[in-house]
């Protein structure tokens, strides 16, 4: 097959075959993976659950991993990472994503408002090391908060489909019951499997306490012998880590940060650090253009006009926020090509040079 594609690409050179096929149908591509949204469900407040049918390149995910999807909003393609919430044993190769609409989240809001069956999105292969080991541990604790529930949901469903016989505690914190996606299903799972304990706590309602050692000890007295998977907002992450470190159980705690990309306060101030991850250099941000700062750091990035017209200096910004010195526009999207000569960092930035 690959041989044949190569041959056909000799004919379509210099354009890859996909650039022809996608014009016929966006899901018709040979190399580039995409997915079509087949179902849209808005059950929990503020979130939307999408079922996606990926194109044939999809290799599946391991419960806990994330995928990157790309959608076009006002002409611009934006990409974001979400964890599939379905069991990784799902037979029909579909994936299910639950997206919480964050107040300033461009993509999450867009999907929450506009996703409809038939819409096609870009899809990147599943990635991430936050997942269950193939050799399942005897005891598992899943602690999540807010939209951090998604990878744990996939883990719990996977364990359910494979008839896992060990003990599981699924501990989830949220604002109130309506905000918990897949709540009824979680409760049903707990009823079907008496080795699963599902606990949903709502400290903000005043009915429950915040995470603490005592709480954990009450729900899963065996937690010290379990493997724990943690994903949630910074406050929860910190509280759990403190407990595990005090118990010297840090090596049994696996966590995934979920970072929201929000533009920092004042774009004009020069704060933070610039990391040039390609060359392993880190410097203090002085507020000058990234090209000038890279040169001061002793790097020699390619450049031409130094005035934003030739695009020679384009490099990939891995993370962080930058400000366009010509337009004043601020950009906080990860993994974006930017022009070094007319962009200055706002806060911490990682550039792949």
């Amino acid at each position: 097959m690959v041989g044949l594609i190569d041959l056909v690409e000799k004919l379509t050179t210099p354009h890859p075959l996909d650039r022809y096929l996608e014009l016929v149908r966006p899901t018709f591509t040979l190399r580039q993976m995409r997915a079509e949204i087949t179902h849209v469900r808005r059950s929990a407040v503020g979130s939307v659950t999408l079922t996606l049918r990926p194109t044939r390149q999809w290799q599946g995910h391991v419960a806990g991993q994330y995928v990157q999807i790309g959608v076009v909003i006002d002409g611009v393609r934006h990409t974001r990472c979400y964890s599939p919430v379905n069991s990784d044993r799902r037979r029909d190769r579909h994936i299910e994503l639950t997206v919480k609409a964050h107040p300033h989240g461009l993509v999450s809001n867009y999907l929450h408002e506009n996703a409809i069956p038939g819409m096609v999105v870009d899809l990147a292969p599943a990635a991430g090391i936050f997942h269950l080991p193939e050799q399942r541990p005897d005891r598992i604790v899943l602690i999540t908060g807010g939209s951090g529930i998604t990878p744990a949901l996939s883990m719990l469903r996977t364990l359910a489909t494979e008839g896992y016989a060990g003990k599981v505690l699924f501990l989830h914190y949220n604002r109130s019951p309506e905000y918990v996606p897949h709540r009824t299903e979680l409760e049903a799972l707990a009823l079907q499997h008496n080795n699963f304990r599902v606990e949903m706590l709502y400290p903000e309602l005043g009915t429950d306490a915040n995470f603490s050692y005592d709480e954990l000890e009450r729900l899963a007295p065996w937690f010290a012998s379990a493997q724990t998977y943690l994903c949630g907002p910074p406050g929860l992450m910190k509280a759990v880590r403190t407990v595990y470190e005090a118990e010297q159980l840090a090596d049994r705690l696996h966590s995934e940060e979920f970072v929201l990309t929000v533009a920092p306060g004042d774009p004009a101030t020069a704060e933070g650090e610039i990391t040039f991850s390609g060359s392993g250099k880190t410097i203090e941000n002085t507020g000058a253009s990234l090209l000038e700062q890279a040169e001061v750091a002793g790097l020699t990035p390619e450049y031409g006009c130094r005035m934003g017209i030739c695009f020679t200096c384009t490099a990939v910004k891995r993370t962080g926020c930058t400000r366009n010195l010509r337009t004043g526009e601020v950009d906080a999207d990860p993994d974006q090509p930017i022009q070094l000569c007319i962009n200055a960092p706002v806060g911490d930035v990682d550039i792949a040079i």
């Binding site: 014009l23 002409g75 611009v76």
Partner: protein, 382 residues
């Protein structure tokens, strides 16, 4: 030919304040367009891509009926249109970064390749950087004559220049190969200013890219039509030539008609943004035409707007052209435009005239615009 700006009182003089005012006005136009970029521009470029792919497939398909002359001709026409669209409205503009904001991997300036023998990375260096940064500065912008032609009085005359129109004619026929060789700076190698070793990597890239193009047009596609091998080969060859004639003509109309000014390195040292804008306007020329004509020329018929804003999507140039023109009129600056026949006629007239030694060619034209830079008048050549 008279300078468009020549007044009875002599050339137009642009003061510092005027230059800053022009700069601010142009910045504002730019900001307005960047703010407005969105779905419309996306739809535009994809509609052009769709059309180009359609013409390409039609052209290749018609070659199977190439034994019938009308079909052969239709095939050549379709393929020529495809190559012209690919090179101009798509390739040239995408590689200027005009659509980078869309964040579409297939339309990113750093990775895009086009259907011509010149590797895109080399073209981006000689064109996007050298030509667009140093537009019409002698000794910096190698597009002034491409190292072969005499297109400006400030280039010294020697007997070899007598062949000027002949060289131009051959460059026109083989234009894509000329574009490919541009970044090598062959004349600098001949003069010993550049070593062969420096260009080894460039040559390697050219052989790779050109090899693929040649293989596709002159071996694989002809072979696929079996007994029609020669007819398809001839068709593909003709389409490449048609594309060359067209791109050469449009591009030469952008900077070489009469009334376009050139500059010295000295003038342009420590240029302000406003001065840079003024140089771009004085150094470029437009062509009037219909919407279809503009699309087929990659909107390089709006060369002035393109040089002011090389990274704004080309479909925006017609929209902003009236404003740029009004700005020129306000300050008495030339807005060099004319019909295609006028502009191309003027280009060839110049190519012939500058073949002759200055004594026969007559006096060079006086400066049309004098730009006051850093408090000093700087004469700009014609």
């Amino acid at each position: 030919m008279a300078m468009l700006t020549e007044t009875p009182a002599g050339p137009v003089v642009l003061s510092r304040e005027q230059i800053e005012e022009i700069g601010a006005a142009l910045d504002e136009i730019r900001a307005r367009v960047t703010d407005d970029l969105g779905e419309r521009d996306r739809e535009y470029i994809y509609s052009i891509i769709k059309a180009q792919r359609g013409f390409e497939i039609a052209g290749r398909g018609l070659m199977y009926l190439g034994f019938l002359p009308p079909f052969w001709l239709a095939g050549v026409a379709a393929l020529s249109v495809s190559k012209i669209l690919d090179n101009m409205e798509i390739g040239h503009n995408v590689m200027h970064g005009q659509y980078d904001w869309m964040r579409e991997p297939g339309l990113n300036s750093r990775v895009f390749e086009w259907d011509t023998v010149c590797p895109s990375d080399q073209w981006r260096h000689s064109h996007n950087y050298m030509h667009h940064t140093y537009t019409n500065i002698h000794g910096m912008d190698r597009d002034i004559g491409y190292g072969i032609l005499r297109v400006d009085e400030a280039q010294p005359w020697n007997p070899l220049r007598l062949g000027n129109p002949v060289y131009a004619f051959f460059l026109m026929l083989a234009f894509e190969w000329g574009v490919m060789g541009h970044d090598l700076e062959v004349e600098n190698i001949v003069q010993g200013k550049r070593k062969w070793l420096d260009v080894k990597a460039l040559l390697k890239g050219q052989i790779r890219k050109a090899g693929r193009q040649v293989l596709k047009d002159y071996v694989v596609f002809p072979a696929l039509t079996g007994p029609l091998f020669l007819s398809t080969l001839a068709g593909n060859f003709t389409a490449n030539i048609v594309r060359n004639l067209w791109t050469f003509s449009i591009i030469f109309c952008g900077h070489f008609p009469s009334g376009v000014q050139t500059f010295s390195e000295e003038d342009c040292a420590e240029e302000t943004q406003g001065e840079w804008y003024v140089r771009q306007m004085l150094g470029s020329a437009n062509i009037d035409g219909s919407r279809l004509f503009h699309i087929m020329s990659g909107n390089l018929s709006h060369q002035i707007e393109h040089h002011l804003f090389p990274d704004l999507p080309a479909n925006r140039y017609p929209e902003i052209a009236p404003e740029v023109k009004a700005l020129c009129e306000k300050h008495g600056l030339p807005y060099n435009t004319g019909s295609f026949s006028q502009q191309i006629g003027s280009v060839w007239a110049k190519l012939f005239k500058l073949a002759l030694p200055p004594v026969l060619a007559g006096k060079p034209q006086p400066a049309g615009v004098i730009v006051v830079r850093r408090g000093q008048d700087s004469e700009v050549g014609v």
